[in-house]
Amino acid sequence: MLIRNIRYACRRYSQAVTFRTAESSPAEHNSNHVGLFYTINKDLCKQLYGHGGLPKSYMKQSKTFAETVIMVRQPALDIIACMKASDLEKPVTKYVLYGEEGTGRSMTIAHLLHYAFEEGYLIIHVPWVSDWLRRVQRHKEMSNSLTREGMVDVPLDAAAWLLHFKTQNQHLLKSPELKISKEYVWSKREKTEAGAPLSELIELGISRVKYACDVVDAIVHEVKHLSNTGKFKTFVAVDGYNGFFNSLTRLKTPTKKKVAPEEVTLTTSILELTKGDWKNGVIVLSADMIANPDEQNKQIFPMNLLYRKGFNHLDPFVPVKVDRYSEREFITCANYYRDRLWLRGPPEIEAELKLTSAFNPYKFMEQCAPL
């Protein structure tokens, strides 16, 4: 037993130097750490990605490995460097991640979320836009908006998101500075006074699901206002952002009318947030081919995915390409899989996997699963 443990420890130690970094603070990551994995604290992981944020298959794998690790990669470092260098007094800077399927845009966002969390940003994170607009369960809760004529609410999704927002920012929401600037009247009896803490608004949205969408809208306005006044800085991350610019969603009103994305209240809120008319914030978006499946020409470029509409809305933004693994990243990843006893067999297997996966991180992960 002892020998086994020693052997195990030896093995871990011998390989740990090659693929792992002990530096678990994203702010300290630099180009020396490129391709290395760092481990995220379990509680933090639950707080940040508990309600979405990591891809499902990656979640599953982390569960198997009994730890959540993220590889430090160039795009994330690039954006972190830009965030450090940028002046927050200037209007918000927008970054658009693009790249092939499975190259790790969502993982880059996850990495940046961790960075933003450490730096004390207020996080507004939409895990996957198409969850709101395209995923339709048998009974998708939908209603016509009470406050805005001709718009559609998706209250359950909004409430779920509020919960996500609350968990991600629980430490910040405790601070007394987060106060509401104006009074919100929800109905004859229910209203939120000006000066009430922001968390009250969120609680209301979660408990009174009917108003969830309006609460989201209110939060967006409040956050913009608070950031403008310099109370705190805000980090906005939206994955699959181009889903907002599709011609139609999968939602249908009770009269079977198909709903366009701009007719959904949540869309208007998030689009309001990604305008460039506020400061003290950073916006990271990702353009994803999966988010507009109707698109015929399969191109990964952001303008093609955002359409003219989205480009006009975002411009000027910084396009950041997330590429496939480099040789080095591939080797560290393979080493990590070997360490986890996920990948076994002769060393030649790596050369083969290199070819079959074509350095695509997602494909590599999938192909290693049965090995």
Binding site: D78, D277, D315, P316, V318, P319
Partner: protein
Amino acid sequence: MSLFMKRNKPGVVFNTQILWRLNSTVAENKDEEEFRVLDILKKKDSRQKRIVRRAEVAPDRAEKMPTDQNWGNVWPGPRSFHPSSVPLPIRQGYVPKGQVPPGKKANAELMKIPNFLHLTPPVIKRQCEAIRKFCTEWPKLLNSEEAIDKHYPVEIITSDYCHASPTIRNPMARVVTLRIKLANLDLDKHAKDKFLRLVGDRYDEKTDLVTLTADRCPLRKQNLDYVNYLLTAAYHEAWTVEEWEKEKMEDDMEYYVWDNNQSKRNLIDWYHRVSGTEQVLSDEEYRNYDISSIPHAKEYKEAVSNLFNEGESEETIEKYGGTVRKLLGLPERTV
């Protein structure tokens, strides 16, 4: 007889013949020495052989031709190949393995293909000499292609057909093609755009040529008039501005004009926010705003225009990203 056959062995037929001959009573007065034999069983060697008479074949004309003959007289006009008239060792056709191609005689392959044996250089030279007296002198000032293009921008292309048949008319001769360089037409931005939309695919972007072809009228003269009419009509139509053309939206534009687009507004708004002088501008003010006061705005304008006009690619996106970083004061992308 049957008794006789029994007594004699089969095969001794000769004796029977002789016997029979002895008994014959026919008188033979022509040939005293030898009797003619009536050959009843027709023995092979006695049959007369037919002599095949062959006609005398004259040697090939091609072999008799003198080497200094006038070839133009031998082969004066277009004609399908004839082996005896051509004193050349020509071979053509499928080559079986290890053999040579079939020779010129009785060779359908050679007859199928068109030949130019009537258009040898000396013949052409002779014919040109013959028609020289009908030509006028080439204008001295039109000494180069550029000069010709300059003085005669409109190019008319027609074809004349000459062949030996009962009629000298060819229906293809009526087709008239007019070509002109677009640069030679006096067009402004709007007129050029409209002209191009009117001519459609008759304009070739690579060569800058507009090609109009007419074959609808029965005579060349009529077609020529029609082509000229087409060019004139299209040109003048291009210059007129109709009432409905004001309704042209940004999406109808054939190329991306940055000054008219949202991108410029975004940049100006951003700049105003950065400099802390926010103001509300009208559409006209946005369009005419001078961007030279904004650092890196020129590059940005170029990058966005490129992105739209050349299409999205790795380079244009990278250039756009680079200029945006410069504009926003962010560090360069590290590779």
